[in-house]
Symmetry: C2
C-alpha cells in the first residue's frame, strides 16, 4: 500500500500544488517559507509546472491553472457511474427544486462527483471534487451501510471518526447503529448533523452484484421539509432516482 521507494521530488511538487490550492495566488517567498524549501527550488518547481500548464503566473504571483480540471474532468467523464447518474441527479434537482448531489467513495473518503441546483436550492459550499468524511453526511452513510463490515473498519482505522458537530456521529457504536438504520429504511438521513437547519436524504446505488457504486442525495432547508416529507415524499423520489441509475447501469 505504501510507496517503498517514493519519488521525493514528485512529493515536493505535490506538496507545492496543495499549498497553492490552500493559499490561492501567492509569491515564491511565501510558498518557500510555508513548505520549508529554498526559494530557488520552489521557483524551479513552479516554472516546471507552468511550462506544462498546471500553474499560471500573473505578475509576480503564481496560481493553479485549469489543467487540473482537464485531467479531473477527463477521469470523471470516463466513469460509467457518472455518465449514467448525471442526468438523473439533474432531474432530481429540477423536480424537487432543491440541491441534488452525487458522491462516490475513494480511498476511504467521499468525493462529490457533481451537484445540481434546482430553482430554490440552498447554496452550500460543496463543489465537484470536494472530499468529505463519509461518516459526516447522509451520502457517506448510505455508502458505508452497504460496504462489507471489514471495509468500514478499515476506513474508520484510516480516517477516524472525528465529530463535525455535537449532533453528528462520533463513535464506532453510534456509526454502526446508524448504518443498521440506513439498511432497514433503505435510505440515509442527515437532520441538521452537518449543518444546523439542513436536512439531507441519500440513497445508495448498487450494481448487479450488490456492490455499492455511490450515492445520490437531496439537501434542503428544514423550513421546506416537513417531518412527513423527511420519511415520505423525499426519500421516495431519491430512491426512485437511485433505482433508475441501477437499472441503466446493469443494462
Amino acid at each position: 500500500m505504501d510507496a517503498k521507494h517514493p519519488v521525493r521530488t514528485t512529493e515536493k511538487t505535490l506538496a507545492l500544488v496543495e499549498e497553492l490550492m490552500d493559499r490561492g495566488p501567492c509569491g515564491v517567498t511565501e510558498l518557500a517559507n510555508g513548505l520549508e524549501m529554498g526559494k530557488s527550488a520552489v521557483h524551479n518547481h513552479l516554472t516546471t509546472l507552468q511550462k506544462h500548464g498546471y500553474v499560471l503566473k500573473t505578475g509576480d504571483e503564481y496560481q493553479l491553472g485549469l489543467k487540473f480540471l482537464e485531467v479531473g474532468g477527463s477521469t470523471r467523464k470516463s466513469m460509467e457511474f457518472y455518465q449514467v447518474a448525471e442526468p438523473e441527479v439533474k432531474s432530481l434537482a429540477n423536480e424537487t427544486g432543491e440541491l441534488a448531489n452525487l458522491l462516490v467513495e475513494e480511498q476511504g473518503m467521499g468525493v462529490y462527483l457533481m451537484r445540481s441546483k434546482g430553482e430554490e436550492a440552498v447554496d452550500l459550499d460543496t463543489y465537484a471534487g470536494l472530499r468529505t468524511y463519509l461518516h459526516t453526511t447522509a451520502l457517506g452513510k448510505a455508502i458505508l451501510a452497504h460496504l462489507p463490515e471489514s471495509r468500514v473498519e478499515e476506513i474508520i482505522e484510516r480516517r477516524g471518526l472525528e465529530r463535525k458537530t455535537p449532533r453528528s456521529v462520533g463513535s464506532r457504536e453510534e456509526l454502526f447503529e446508524a448504518l443498521e438504520g440506513v439498511r432497514d429504511r433503505g435510505y440515509a438521513i442527515d437532520d441538521g448533523e452537518r449543518l444546523e437547519g439542513l436536512r439531507c436524504i441519500a440513497a445508495p446505488v448498487k450494481d448487479s452484484s450488490d456492490e455499492v457504486l455511490g450515492a445520490i442525495s437531496v439537501s434542503a432547508p428544514a423550513s421546506r421539509v416537513s417531518d412527513d416529507d423527511l420519511h415520505g415524499r423525499l426519500p421516495e423520489r431519491v430512491l426512485s432516482a437511485a433505482n433508475v441509475v441501477e437499472l441503466n447501469i446493469n443494462y
Copy 2:
C-alpha cells in the same frame, strides 16, 4: 516564459499522468514502454502518486484518481467569473432547451469551465476542463475578437491555425476577417464548421475595463435553428446572458 532549470523528475511524473489520461487504466509495463522509462522508475512514480491520492490501483492496473478533480474543482470554484456566470449559463440552457457552454482562455487555448444541458440538448463530447483551439469554435472566436491584436498574434504563433474541418478557419487572413465580423455583430457564429449540422452562437463577457473574461454559447442542431434564429432570437438570448454576467461582475 520557459523554465530555465526544469525539474526533470516532475516532468516525468506529469508525462506519466498524461499517458494515464490518454490510455485509461493500464499496467506498469505498458506505461514504461509508452514513456520509454524503466519499469522500476514508472513503478516508483505510480506508487508515489497513489500515496497522495492522485492514482488508484485496482488489481494490477493503475488509473487516475479523483484528486485531480478536487484540485481542478477548487481552482474553478475560486474564479469569480465562474461563480457569477454559472447560474446564467444554467438558465440559458433551461430556457433554450439546448446545450449552453462557458469558455475561458488559458495559455492560448480555450478551456470549457462548464456545460449545461437543456431538455433537448445534443450530447457533444465536451466536458468541464476540456481544452480546444480557440480558432475552431464560436466561443473561441468570441474571445479572440476582443483580445489585443498582439495577443492574437502570440496565440497563433504558439498554437497554430490547424484546420479541424474543411469549412473551418485555416489562415491568418481568414481568422482576422472572421474576428472583424464578430466585433461588428457583437457575437460569433459557428455554422457547421466544427461539426456538420451543429450551429453555435457565442458572446464575449468583458469586465469594466473592457478586458475579455470569457465567452458564453448555445449549441443546437441545425434542424432546430432556422436562418432567422441564427441571427435573431438566439444571439439576442446569448448576448443578454453575457450582459447579465457583465453587470454582476462589475457590481
